[in-house]
């Protein structure tokens, strides 16, 4: 059952699936962008500004989701010494860093025309800023610490500790008074985004997921080869 986590099996799986993933990405991204930029309606209040959502929201979701995986992988690697999970986390981290940066930058570009400010230290924005810093710390520690084993251990701890921030980001808009609006899409209630805007949003999310998966697989292959070469 856990055979898929064996480095060799996963490596071969990555090789065979990359081609198809790239084809899916091209189609999904083109459909998503056309729907989001041309065919989706304007918002009744925000007009065309709402189109920033189609990049901002998927990037935020992915940056949270990737950190969740990094945290869980770090836990498995630290406690059960299944060290390939550290490689998963290490390969995922730069992707998460970039998406969290995209989320913060697009969010601030969206904030100016809607809220009237680029930045404000409310609960959601502050906790998201902490996530960017955590990502930055995680990625830079991997490159600053030359010894692989100590780098692995320290980044594992960062990954687990950083996990605390994920529910804070998610629920910040519910716990505190924030400038950021509450979640439109939740697991418990019907989405408060009209279906004509929800469809492109979900397609964009799907294509960003595929994009992350592709970059992850390429980075994973690189890390595994690198590991083997350095071992000899």
């Amino acid at each position: 059952m856990f055979g898929i986590f064996k480095p060799r099996t996963f490596f071969n799986l990555a090789n065979t699936s990359l081609f198809w993933l790239k084809i899916i990405l091209v189609f999904a991204l083109i459909t998503g962008l056309i729907l989001a930029l041309l065919f989706s309606p304007i918002d009744y209040l925000q007009k065309d500004t709402v189109r920033i959502m189609y990049v901002h929201v998927p990037s935020s979701w992915i940056s949270l989701f990737i950190f969740l995986i990094i945290g869980i992988s770090s836990f498995i690697s630290l406690i059960f010494k299944l060290r390939v999970f550290s490689v998963y986390a290490k390969s995922l981290a730069p992707i998460g860093l970039v998406f969290s940066l995209i989320s913060v930058v697009t969010g601030s570009l969206w904030g100016y025309p809607t809220w009237g400010t680029f930045w404000s230290w409310d609960g959601r924005l502050t906790s998201m800023f902490v996530l960017v810093l955590t990502y930055f710390l995680y990625v830079s520690l991997w490159s600053f610490i030359k010894n692989y084993n100590s780098a692995e251990k320290i980044t594992n701890i960062i990954g687990i500790v950083g996990l605390i921030n994920i529910p804070i980001i998610k629920f910040s808009v519910a716990w505190w008074n924030t400038l950021h609006q509450p979640a439109s899409i939740t697991l418990t209630a019907a989405p408060t985004i009209h279906s004509s805007m929800l469809a492109p949003l979900l397609i964009m999310f799907f294509s960003f997921c595929i994009l992350s998966l592709i970059i992850f697989l390429i980075r994973y292959k690189y890390e595994i080869i690198n590991f083997r070469v350095n071992k000899k």
Binding site: D43, L45, I79, W175, S184
Partner: protein, 144 residues
């Protein structure tokens, strides 16, 4: 086997640290709840024992029909549908600042009913829809 003896040991130590961290987190969270207020609702201002002299933020709905303009000087009412606070502001309003929608204003309280704002932020809600849908929703509301 993944549940080796040393793995179980590590798991024990980890759970202890995790429990300790949860308790610490809980205390911090409780404190944050009391101290870190991004903005006050009108009700919370009413409940304050003394009028704060420093810069604070006030958030709520902009009361419909309350916005009055005189050159660049605006006066309007921020309400939580129970309590109302007059807000005076001199400057440009953000695009999304509309009557009947939420806003966050930054400034000082003159007294508990009067706020002098230096910054106005428009807060928008989690609803996104095309204008046609918004119009028909409005019509249905008026028809009721």
């Amino acid at each position: 086997m993944i549940f080796s003896k040393s793995a179980k040991n590590r798991l024990k130590i980890f759970s202890l640290i995790a429990i300790a961290a949860t308790i610490i987190f809980f205390f911090i969270y409780n404190n944050l709840q009391k101290n870190v207020v991004y903005f006050y609702a009108p009700q919370e201002i009413k409940n304050l024992t003394n009028t704060p002299s420093n810069k604070i933020r006030l958030g709520g709905l902009v009361k419909e029909g309350s916005l009055k303009k005189n050159n660049n000087n605006y006066v309007f009412i921020i309400t939580d549908l129970k309590n109302e606070i007059f807000v005076e502001y001199n400057g440009l309003l953000p695009n999304l600042f509309v009557e009947g929608k939420s806003a966050v204003v930054e400034g000082v309280l003159k007294d508990k009913k009067y706020f002098i704002a230096s910054v106005i932020l428009a807060k928008h809600d989690e609803n996104y829809m095309p204008p046609e849908v918004a119009n028909s929703l409005k019509k249905n509301k008026l028809g009721k």
